[in-house]
Structure formats: C-alpha cells, structure tokens
C-alpha cells in the first residue's frame, strides 16, 4: 500500500495547475463572467491537455490514466474555478464521439441523485449533446430540441442555467450498470473539484489573515482567527483523504466498499468546500461580503457541485444502509 501521490501524478497535477494559473486567474474569470462563462478557445486548450480523454485508452487517443489521476486533475480545475460542463464531457468521452477531443461539448443531468424537478440545465446554450443519467441507463438528448428558458440571474455567475419543463426519453446509450458507474465516477470527480475549492478558500483566507491588520497586529496572530484556519486545514485534509480514496477505490474496487468510498469523498469534500468557503468570507470581514473579493465564487460554485451526483444527505442515507461490523 502506498497512498501517496506518485511523482508522475504530481507532475500531471502541476501541469494543470500552471495552466490554470496562467489562463484562468481571477481577472480572466471575471471577464468570462461577462461572456456567459464560456470560452471556446479555453475549452479547446483544456481538451488539448487531455482533460476529457484522460481515461480513454491510448489506442483511442487517450492517456490511459485512472480515476485517482482524474481526481487530481479535477482538484486543480476546482481550485481555479474552471467553468463549463467539465465533468460531463469527461464522463461522455467513451460514449459520445468528439467529446474527448473537445469538438463536441457535452453537458448532463443527474436523475439518479436529486429529485429532478425543477429541471435546470447548466451551460445549456453551449451544449452540443445532453446526457441523462437515469437509474435505468444513460440517455442522449439533443439540447437544442428542448424548450429552454434562460434564468436571468444564476446563483453562480460562472454557471449559467436554463429551465426546461420536461425531458424527452432520449436515445439509450448504455444500460443501468453503466449509468450507476458513471454516477459514482462523477461523484468522485466532483469531490476532487470540491477539495480544490476547499484548498483555494483556505489559501485566500491565509493570505488575508497574514496581511490584514487590526488593533495594531495581523489578524492571523489572533487565536480566534488561527483556530478558524486550523479547522479549515483539518477539513481540507479529511476531504483530501476522502476524495483520493474514492478515486483509488474506483480503480481497484477490491480495496473496500466502492459505494461507501465514493460517498465518503463526496460528503467530506462537500463539507470542506462549504465550510471553508464560509470561513473564508468570515475571515475577510466586510470585504468578504463584496463581489470584489472572490470568496463568494467558492461558496456559489460549491452549491452547484453539491447538487449533482448525490448531495451529502443522499450519500449519507445510502451509506447508512452499508454500516456493518468488520468493515
């Protein structure tokens, strides 16, 4: 057993991080906010980096990597708040031609987890294909055939949503077992994103706590602030273990209970992102309540990611059925 991040994995992660820092730093994200959160050029660059075909076999033009590697990549995409239907296009790579290369933008709806009503579709205006994950299988729908009404003010300024009244049956791509597997993979990748958000929120809070002075000293020298930060760190490390274990268990299901490992990742990463985003706002004081300080993007994106591939509550209810002695 060696649960450490391997040197190759570190290099992969570092590559994605450098790209994101250069290409989607906070000022560039603010520009995207004005452009409906979508930039075709950025999408193509992400595709070139292999984000979508990471796990396709090399014979199919992919990188032949595993779920653990993908979690690390999505951790960076979460940290940088990269916009777009990233997880869906990644999951669609083996099922929709052109998804892996980025030519076809694939979005999706999780109808296994949350109650489907009201039906809100993220990034609808830029989708070429819409996937539906239903308990009975994976279905493909033409998003343009839907009557979609734009929501004027989405919660996350970088996640535009459209409202549709109903969904067609769609074309069946795969059976129930595949839908279930994709749902678990999606939960693990989103856990990676949530972990990245938890880390970014701590980093932003720490920068501020070290710089900002009140009562003649840096606020980060007060134990009241220090202990908020320490708790953020603990949540981040718990989420890291949870999300990484979800990826590692998807790669080698014999090491544990897959449903429990994935649920543990989603729950702990969701908790960490939500609470760290709030703490980041709190540590910034009044400035944390402004649009200018990016802390709010972390919280808003977390609400988006919390709602897909099983909320924390849904995973908790599933896990409860699997609590037993000797495990």
């Amino acid at each position: 057993m060696d649960f450490r991040v391997h040197a190759d994995q570190e290099a992969l992660q570092q590559g994605i991080r450098s790209f994101c820092e250069g290409r989607i730093a906070i000022d560039q994200l603010r520009e995207l906010e004005e452009k409906d959160a979508f930039d075709r050029g950025l999408w193509n660059q992400l595709a070139e980096m292999g984000i979508f075909q990471l796990r396709l076999p090399e014979t199919a033009g992919g990188l032949g990597l595993g779920c653990a590697d993908a979690v690390l990549v999505f951790e960076e995409l979460g940290r940088s708040l990269a916009p777009g239907p990233l997880v869906w296009s990644h999951l669609a790579a083996p099922w929709v031609d052109g998804a892996g290369t980025g030519e076809v933008v694939v979005g999706g709806l999780d109808l296994i987890g949350a109650a489907p009503q009201p039906i809100l579709i993220e990034h609808w205006a830029h989708l070429d294909v819409l996937l539906l994950l239903r308990p009975e299988g994976v279905f493909r729908v033409d998003p343009k055939a839907l009557e979609a009404r734009p929501i004027a003010t989405p919660l996350d300024p970088l996640t535009p949503v459209h409202h549709v009244e109903s969904l067609p049956p769609g074309e069946r791509l795969a059976e129930a077992a595949v839908a279930h597997r994709l749902w678990l993979e999606g939960a693990a990748l989103v856990s990676g994103q949530l972990l990245g958000i938890a880390e970014a929120a701590l980093e932003l809070a720490l920068d501020y706590a070290k710089k900002r002075e009140q009562f003649g000293r840096a606020i980060g020298s007060f134990q009241a602030i220090q202990h908020l930060c320490a708790d953020m760190f603990v949540r981040q490390e718990v989420a890291r273990a949870g999300a990484y274990a979800a990826g590692a268990t998807l790669d080698h299901p014999e090491v544990g209970d897959l449903e429990r490992a994935v649920g543990s990742g989603k729950i702990t990463a969701g908790d960490a992102a939500m609470k760290n985003a709030r703490a980041c706002i709190q540590i910034h004081g009044g400035m944390g309540y402004t649009w200018e300080v990016p802390a709010h993007y972390f919280l808003k994106r977390t609400w988006v990611l919390e709602s897909i591939f099983g909320t924390g509550d849904e995973h908790a209810a599933r896990i409860a059925e699997r609590v037993e002695s000797g495990t």
């Binding site: 057993m1 060696d2 649960f3 450490r4 991040v5 391997h6 994995q9 653990a68 690390l72 720490l206 706590a209 070290k210 000293r217 840096a218 980060g220 020298s221 134990q223 602030i225 220090q226 202990h227 930060c229 320490a230 760190f233 603990v234 490390e237 718990v238 989420a239 890291r240 273990a241 949870g242 990484y244 274990a245 990826g247 590692a248 268990t249 080698h252 014999e254 090491v255 544990g256 429990r260 490992a261 649920g263 543990s264 990742g265 729950i267 702990t268 924390g312 509550d313 995973h315 908790a316 209810a317 896990i319 409860a320 059925e321 699997r322 609590v323 037993e324 002695s325 000797g326 495990t327």
Partner: protein
C-alpha cells in the same frame, strides 16, 4: 495513490490473524477495572505471549528485540489486534510507547541493559510523571525540584495524571534542575524506581469514576544520578524524543474500535423502540450515522496517507495533529449518537433491558478525555496554525 496491500503485508496479516485467534481465546477475558493485581497479571502475561510469538515491540528496532515492522505492517498489526479483540498494551503503555523507545535512543548502555529487555517481555512496567497541577498544556513550566546531593538527586514535587502508578515499577520523571534558566532549559529526565522512600500515590477519581490516573507526591525522594537520561538540563529535548513515539500507527486500533462502535450503535438502534417504530426507522438518525461513517472512512484513508508518508520519512506526516484533532472530536460525536439511541437506558451505567449501555456509557465518559490528553484540541489547533499554516505567533 494505491490502497492495495502488498503480498508480504497480506501474508503478515494472515499469519498474525491466525496466531491471534488462538492466543486471544486462550488468554481469557479481562479482569474487572478495579482489580489492579489481576490487571497487572493479565496485561503483562499478554505481553509475554506477544514476545514469545515475535510480535512484541512491533515498532522497536531488531537489535533491541523488536519486530522493526514497516509502517504499513504496523497499521496491519494494530488493525488485527483490534479486530481480534485482543488486549491492547494496557499497563505496558508507558514502557512500550514512551520509556523503552526513549532509552533506545537516549539511554546509556547500562540503562538499556537494565530496562529495555524487561519492558519488552512484560517484566517491567512504567508510569508517566510529566504533568503537574500547574503544568498541563504548558508542560515546560513544571516545578518538581531536583537538587543534587552527592550521587543522588533529591526530588520534591507534585505530579498529576500519572497513569498506572499503582502497578508501575518505574516512572519516567521530569524534574527542574535549574530554576534560574529559561523554562525549557532547566529540565531533566530521570528514571525513578517506584519503590523508593518518599513516594506517595493517591488515585484520582475522574469523570468515569475510579480509573487509570493518580497523583504522585514526592518528598525528598533520592534518585541516583546514574538514572538520568541525557544530560542535566537537557530533559526538554529528551521529552520531545519521548513524545514523538506516542502516536503514529497505534491510533489504528482505536479507529477500528470506533468503526465497530458505530456498527453496534446501528444494531442497537434497530432494536430500541420509539412508540411504534425503532430508532433506526428515523431517517434523520440514519443520515447522521451515514455521515459519521463517511467521516470515519475518510479518517481511515487519512491514516493510510500518513502511514504511507512515514514509510519514506520514518516519522508521521505533518498531518498527525490534524488526525488527532479530527479523530478525537469525531469519537465524541459518535458517543453523543450512542447516548441518543440509548435514550433513558443511558441513565444506567450497568446494562438494562438487554442493551449494552454499560459499555456505551464507559466509552462516552472516556471519550471526554480524548480531546484533552496528549495535547488538547486547542493546542493541536495552535500547532496547525503556527507550524503548518505559518500564521504569526503572538504571546
């Protein structure tokens, strides 16, 4: 990022599991809490069995008779010990996890000869004389005074939280040898035989009632200078060596037991009735248990990450403060759920209505100590803030 155990780790596990099945069954059930002579016999007898089978001193170097197991094997070891419901170190705790390892690193050849093999075989037990009424989290402010008189130190002072003092042969004792030096620079680490004149032991009654802890009153206790470990006034450095051994993979047993506890809480919730349904029929309780299990599973993964890091560096990763903090608070949250499931049965510390309230309450009461002992949660948060996150110190 691979959670699969190697073939040799699985072989180690299989052998250990087979041995434990037989050894645990033949060792009988543990004696009652208050029966110190019986506990002494039970715990040291178990240690001897481990020694004869080659499992004693799992993390000790081979040249001192230990197993020198890799961090991953240690994880397997503690997991299997808990799975088999085998006796844990018990009264051998201080000798095996503090005194012995400290002497191996810092002791003179004579000190090693006199103590190390005996500790390993369960023939010598130790207790801890670190904390004092005025020196808790701020351990370095300890006051127990040792004055040199010929070949002896003459010690006067008052120690607190001395585990297993009633049955210990020796005490790892911290004393102040230079009251004028800065507080970290005037401390010395001594081996105190517990049969010296001038030592009075008073058991401490804790929240859980009678327990492991005592107070030690030391009046003109004459300890030979040859019992000093490390140089005079260098005891703070030696203490940090001691405390380094305290944690690590040993947490794994407690975490396994905590997972078992949660499973048992679920089983009990299925039997306890609330009007016309069981406690487990309550969706809110099920969600809460699911949430706690998710956190336990992530904690277990966190331990595996820390053990994997230790495989390379030889010491637990920087995250060990985070593991301690999270584990101890989680254990208390789980005990709270246990109490809510028991309902009014929780008013009794002995079993009623065929429920395991005795054990559940014992765990709940003892869990209150977890966030205080071995560095309070507040101290852990200070360590994380200053040493890991680099926030400015302000005292």
């Amino acid at each position: 990022m691979d959670l699969r155990y190697s073939e040799s780790d699985e072989k180690f596990r299989a052998e250990l599991r087979a041995w434990l099945r037989e050894a645990v069954a033949s060792h009988g059930s543990p004696p009652p809490h208050h029966d110190w002579p019986a506990r002494h016999a039970y715990d040291t007898g178990w240690q001897r069995k481990l020694y004869d089978a080659g499992y004693a001193g799992i993390h000790w170097p081979r040249e001192y008779g230990g197993r020198d197991a890799s961090p991953t094997e240690q994880l397997v070891y503690y997991e299997e010990i808990a799975r088999a419901n085998a006796p844990y170190v018990g009264i051998n705790f201080v000798g095996l996890l503090h005194g012995g390892p400290t002497l191996i690193v810092e002791g003179t050849p004579e000190q090693k000869r006199r103590h190390v093999p005996y500790i390993l075989r369960g023939e010598q037990t130790w207790c801890q004389g670190f904390s004092e009424p005025e020196a808790g989290s701020d351990l370095a402010s300890l006051r127990a005074r040792a004055e040199r008189d010929g070949d002896d130190y003459v010690v006067n002072g008052h120690k607190m939280w001395t585990s297993y003092a009633q049955v210990a042969d020796y005490c790892e004792l911290l004393v102040r040898t230079d009251p004028d030096a800065p507080k970290h620079k005037g401390i010395t680490w001594l081996i105190m035989p517990m049969d010296l004149p001038g030592i009075e032991i008073r058991p401490l009654k804790t929240i859980a009632g009678e327990g492991e802890f005592s107070e030690l009153f030391l009046e003109n206790v004459r300890i030979p200078v040859e019992n000093r470990v490390g140089a005079e006034n260098d005891g703070w450095r030696v203490t940090n060596v001691t405390l380094r051994f305290e944690r690590g993979a040993a947490f794994a047993s407690e975490m396994y037991q905590l997972r078992e506890h949660l499973a048992e809480i679920k089983a009990v919730a299925g039997r306890v009735t609330r009007h016309d349904a069981t406690a487990w029929d309550d969706a809110a309780l099920r969600r809460e248990v699911g949430h706690l299990q998710a956190e336990l599973d992530a904690l277990w993964a966190m331990v595996k990450l820390s053990v994997s890091e230790a495989s390379e560096t030889g010491v637990p990763g920087v995250g060990s403060a985070a593991v301690k903090l999270f584990y101890t608070e989680l254990a208390q949250r789980i005990s709270d759920v246990a109490m809510r499931v028991l309902g009014r049965a929780g008013l009794s510390r002995s079993d009623v209505a065929e429920l395991p309230n005795g054990r559940f309450l014992e765990k709940m009461l003892m869990s209150l100590n977890l966030t205080i002992a071995a560095g309070t949660s507040q101290i852990q948060r200070n360590i994380i803030s200053e040493r890991i996150l680099g926030l400015p110190r302000h005292r």
